[in-house]
């Protein structure tokens, strides 16, 4: 079963939930945790393990072959991302704008734009003893997270048994990186906080999940602050609230040091248990 942990607003506790849930579930189940927030991956800061694999990840970009080029300009015409410009005596490629669609390369009548790999980031795989953890990190200066997320998902799919519980720490927001990270999920857990910002961004995230036709549920973090707008909204819309993680400075302090919370904070563990039970039930239900 694939579970994505997402949120509209950043900093609402995706990583806290993903890492604690992975560790907790791994006591009795086969778990794989993947950090897909490739722009700013943080799950790894909370997990100790042995590095068992470290791969550079590449995207394909066109490379101009001056000797073959006739400067016909077809490449520039077909590129829909402004990644190619034609000057009077040469073609220039802007790799950070390239979406690796191959149009310029394969439609070039002179075969003057062969595709070559360009490093866009790294993927690491750790064994923690109870579960495997995969993290991908985008190289700074690379603008597109989606290709790296897609390749990471392909790796996870190919290397772990289907019946595992897959947890995906997703990027924040509602645009393309989140879509890529959640589109294959069986369940999306939207974590929010009961504040106006949290509520507003939760509604955006819910709209996105409806758009994607995803099964989703909500976890409220830092419960006790703000107001009850999130709860009222979920009740009205018929959205399950799986748990209410308590607001406590001690949790923030544990987090600040890169420590897991549930082993040290009973009020957090009891709520985490509810989420785990929901997941196991959904998994058995074959949903």
């Amino acid at each position: 079963m694939k579970i994505a942990i997402a949120s509209g607003k950043g900093g609402t506790g995706k990583t806290t939930l993903a890492t604690n849930l992975a560790s907790y579930l791994a006591q009795n189940h086969k778990v794989v945790l993947t950090d897909l927030d490739v722009e700013e991956p943080n799950s790894g800061l909370f997990i100790n393990g042995n590095l068992k694999q470290h791969d550079d990840k590449f995207k394909m970009i066109p490379e101009w072959d001056k000797a073959k080029c006739t400067l016909c300009g077809r490449c520039r015409t077909v590129c829909n991302f402004n990644a190619i410009i034609k000057l009077s005596d040469r073609i220039m490629v802007f790799p950070e704008l390239c979406h690796s669609c191959y149009a310029c390369s394969e439609l070039c009548p002179a075969e003057a734009l062969p595709m070559i790999p360009q490093k866009m980031g790294e993927m690491k795989v750790w064994e923690t003893g109870s579960f495997d953890f995969i993290e991908s990190k985008l190289d700074i200066g690379q603008e597109q997270a989606v290709p790296l997320i897609a390749q990471t998902l392909d790796y996870v799919e190919a290397n772990y048994p289907k019946e595992s519980i897959f947890l995906f720490d997703s990027p924040p927001g509602t645009s393309c990186p989140v879509i890529e990270a959640t589109k294959g999920a069986d369940l999306v857990i939207l974590i929010t906080e009961p504040t106006p910002f949290g509520f507003h961004d939760l509604k955006l995230a819910v709209d996105t999940m409806i758009e994607l036709k995803k099964k989703y549920a909500v976890v409220i973090n830092r419960f006790g602050i703000g107001n009850d707008d999130v709860e009222k909204y979920c009740a009205l819309e018929g959205i399950d609230i799986l748990a209410k993680l308590p607001n406590d400075r001690k949790i923030a302090e544990l987090y600040s040091r890169g420590e897991l919370v549930y082993e040290k904070f009973e009020g957090f563990k009891s709520e985490l248990t509810k989420i785990a039970e929901y997941i196991i039930a959904a998994d058995l239900g074959g949903e």
């Binding site: 700013e40 979406h99 985008l138 509602t174 600040s256």
Partner: protein, 291 residues
């Protein structure tokens, strides 16, 4: 005219709360832009009137005319995004997967494919209760091209500021290090980094700062919740010193951030509070550095 961009790398560090406070303090002297178009929140505190709104079109999706399609399958073969599956014996576009590259449009021998421009969101110019104008946007759920919408928001803010002879543009940037952030940073004169003393806060600060350096923009840093972990705060301060980043302010862990937000107010509207004074001083400091 100078442009100040507030970013954070990591979400939830108080970036928007602080930017909205600066927008209040700047009042009629500044123009404000919300470039966190994915999850824009500043309007919740500044109460903009959305006096001007416009649809925003960007990017395309392929569309297959089934009358013209002869099922040759060339489009599906050349598509790198698995965006042209066969459903009920017909080649159709899987819209979520389509990148809008137009390769299939050029490749189709029967002219059966057209590219259709997408309405990806709305763009607004508003008067706010802070006495200034806010340029903001709303990206449609699941829409692509947030980087381009950010660029549009910034361009309009600049145009307004020039028209009205404002000296400062204040920009709420987006999280991460990808295209929306790159768009937010382009053309900025000063970057305010809002971070927190957690392992994640520090990690993300370091990453986003490498990006800031690539742009060659001068930066300052605010450490929010600074007393949450004094060791990490010390580590951040050391990092700032080594990198020559201005250390603007340390704010102690304060639930007033949430209290103010819940009341629809910024953190500088509680008269006489320590927080108000602190944030006010930091705004004066930033203005002095920039001008």
């Amino acid at each position: 005219m100078k442009e100040i961009v507030v970013i954070s790398g990591k979400g939830g560090t108080g970036k928007t709360s602080i930017t909205a406070a600066y927008a209040m303090l700047g009042g009629k002297d500044i123009t404000v832009a919300d470039c966190d178009v994915d999850a824009a929140d500043m309007h919740l505190l500044l109460k903009p009137d959305r006096s001007f709104s416009e649809d925003f079109y960007s990017g395309e999706l392929a569309y297959i005319d089934q009358e013209k399609c002869r099922q040759c399958g060339k489009c599906a073969k050349i598509c790198r995004y698995k965006a042209i599956p066969i459903i009920d014996d017909k080649y159709v576009i899987h819209e979520l997967n389509c990148e809008g590259c137009s390769y299939c449009f050029y490749a189709c021998p029967y002219d059966a494919i057209t590219m259709v421009e997408q309405n990806v969101g709305k763009f607004y110019i508003s008067n706010t209760r802070a006495g200034n104008q806010l340029v903001h946007a709303r990206l449609k759920s699941g829409a692509d091209n947030s980087g381009k919408l950010v660029a549009k928001v910034k361009k309009e803010a600049k145009r307004l500021a020039e028209e009205q002879n404002k000296q400062l543009i204040l920009v709420d940037g987006s999280p991460g290090i990808g295209c929306p952030v790159v768009s937010s940073l382009s053309g900025a004169d000063y970057v305010v980094l809002v971070t927190e003393p957690t392992v994640s806060g520090l990690h993300d600060l370091k990453r986003v700062y490498i990006l800031v350096k690539k742009f060659n923009i001068k930066a300052g840093c605010i450490i929010n919740k600074a007393d949450l972990n004094v060791n990490v705060t010390a580590e951040i301060e050391e990092f700032l010193k080594n990198e020559g980043v201005d250390h603007i302010l340390n704010i102690p862990y304060d639930e007033e951030f949430t209290v103010a937000m819940t009341a629809g107010k910024t953190i500088v509207e509680k008269e006489g509070s320590e927080l108000q004074k602190m944030v006010n001083d930091s705004w004066e400091k930033i203005k002095k550095i920039v001008q």
